[in-house]
């Protein structure tokens, strides 16, 4: 697994092999797997992402009753022409909300990188494919791009809220989606890494403070934010705007911030929103212990 986005940029520039292919080759070597098999698995992952959106059921409620039905509400609002965001962003928001709600309601999703952040990459990718009529093969390639970014983050920092707060989950997911989106819009490795850096910078310091310790509040709605943040990061990148801090250093900053976070805001369900009067009230009203 690559330990620096800088390495991927340099290799793409020197060999002419695209970012996604470098990531694929590296993994196939490590897992002793054929590139063909690997590609088929990635296509299956993409189809599963689509199902996780299409199988949304507005009638479902999460175990706590705090999550459910809001994706349908947003869809209604969008279809009524009420959203000012424009078609693409509106549709991505709806997808992120629905997929993430499905996760909270025990439906099948693709963890990317985690179950709690499953709505970010999937929503952005499904949305851009719909808008630009991109082939399934190209979408699978973009998934390698996203996974490559996630792999670098995993080796330099972390991908779980328990280890590094929500910045490590939604932050990483947003960086992965931003890089993948830049690839789909025609960007190269340098652009991919830059978009990942811009996205992650915006979410540095984000606490993991789930109410009652459940992957519901605020996780579901943060997926929507993470998806939209990846789009703005990709747009800035495609316009030629660059992060003043290099991508790998941004990831290192995420690690050092995560290391300094108190346990209260690392998925323990104690601090932050979980520790508010209302958060505690929700927890106590659930009587979820044995």
């Amino acid at each position: 697994m690559y330990k620096a986005l800088e390495d991927l940029i340099r290799e793409e520039q020197s060999s002419g092999i695209p970012f996604w292919k470098l990531v694929q080759k590296d993994d196939c070597k490590e897992q002793n797997k054929s590139e063909e098999q690997s590609f088929q698995e990635m296509q299956y992952i993409y189809r599963s992402m689509r199902s996780s959106f299409e199988e949304y059921d507005a009638k479902l409620l999460s175990a706590s009753g705090l999550v459910g039905g809001e994706g349908a509400r947003l869809q209604k609002w969008r279809e009524a022409g009420k959203m000012v965001s424009g078609e693409f962003i509106s549709s991505v928001m709806e997808k992120a909300l629905k997929i993430s709600e499905s996760n909270a309601c025990m439906k099948r999703i693709v963890a990317a990188p985690t179950a709690g952040s499953c709505g970010v990459v999937a929503a952005v990718f499904l949305g851009i494919q719909e808008k630009e009529q991109i082939s399934e093969e190209k979408m699978a390639e973009a998934l390698y791009v996203a996974a490559g970014i996630g792999g670098v983050i995993a080796s330099r920092a972390f991908l779980s809220g328990a280890a590094g707060g929500c910045q490590a989950e939604i932050g990483s997911a947003s960086a992965m989606a931003a890089g993948g989106l830049v690839y789909l819009l025609g960007g190269d490795a340098e652009g991919i890494a830059n978009a990942a850096a811009l996205a992650l910078k915006n979410l540095l310091g984000l606490a993991c403070d789930p109410v009652a310790g459940l992957v519901e509040v605020p996780c579901v709605k943060r997926n929507v934010m993470g998806a939209v943040n990846s789009i703005t990061s990709a747009e800035l990148t495609m316009a030629g705007i660059r992060s003043k801090i290099p991508p790998d250093e941004v990831i290192d900053a995420m690690r050092s911030i995560g290391r300094g976070m108190s346990e209260e805001i690392r998925e323990t369900g104690k601090g932050g929103l979980a520790g508010t009067q209302t958060g505690i009230h929700y927890r106590e009203s659930m009587s979820q212990s044995w």
């Binding site: 698995e41 706590s64 909270a104 179950a115 310790g213 659930m286 212990s289």
Partner: protein, 225 residues
């Protein structure tokens, strides 16, 4: 780390540690028992106890005991599935002291009377660790075919087992040895690169000084439920 651990797995939500990891623990317990499960006593510790209902950890463990994979859409309905399959289970809380916060203790009884007690933990990202078998400390992930031999703590048993493995061309990836006290009960945990033949496991079971042999096979088909 595998690329498909970063984009993936495809799983039933909401949590890789509290749901997918719990399904895996259930599955490994089922395979280790090596018998159709008749009844299960499930004890949740720590975060599994306090947030398990909200994360569907209870349904996930039962689904795993029934042989469901982490992406099986029947996981939310596993209690009904268990009722149809005749699997009895009881779930309670427990304090396992310093154990990992996402730990569970499971006591299983099989239809042929086999018994097994396991403590396992879900350590993040859907990965798990088995920490105790029948009260003896062990430490393995379930990612390899794993042979667990309980024996009397006396000379020669390690050679019995390892020479059998050599004879069957099974390479040892990792091996751990534990004992309660000198001359008491001991356990060896051997993670292998290849599957151990069934006949060889039977042969081991009949050796003098061998108390119990438990085997985790990865080749076995997922149970049809």
């Amino acid at each position: 780390m595998n690329l498909l651990d970063i984009i993936g797995p495809v799983m039933v939500g909401p949590s890789s540690s509290h749901t997918a990891g719990a399904v895996k623990i259930g599955n490994i317990c089922r395979k280790l028992l090596g018998d159709t499960i008749k009844s299960a006593e499930i004890f949740f510790h720590g975060s599994f106890q306090t947030t398990g209902k909200g994360h569907g950890t209870d349904k996930a463990i039962v689904a795993g005991l029934l042989g469901c994979a982490v992406d099986d859409i029947r996981i939310p309905d596993s209690f009904e599935l268990a009722a149809r399959q005749g699997l009895e289970f009881r779930i309670r809380g427990i304090d396992l002291g310093e154990a990992h916060p996402n730990s569970v203790k499971i006591n299983l009884t099989g239809v042929t009377g086999k018994k097994l007690e396991i403590i396992a933990a879900s350590i993040g990202g859907g990965r798990i660790q088995i920490h105790e078998i029948d009260g003896l400390t062990v430490n393995f992930s379930g990612d390899y075919p794993t042979l667990i031999v309980q024996n009397l703590d006396q000379p020669g048993h390690i050679m019995d087992v390892t020479s059998m493995l050599a004879h069957k061309s099974v390479n040892i990836a990792e091996m751990q040895l534990y004992r309660e006290n000198r001359g008491g009960n001991a356990v060896m945990v051997i993670e292998c690169d290849q599957e151990v033949p069934k006949d060889s496991i039977k042969w081991l079971e009949h050796l003098e000084g061998i108390i119990k042999v438990t085997y985790l096979s990865l080749a076995e088909e997922e149970a049809h439920v």
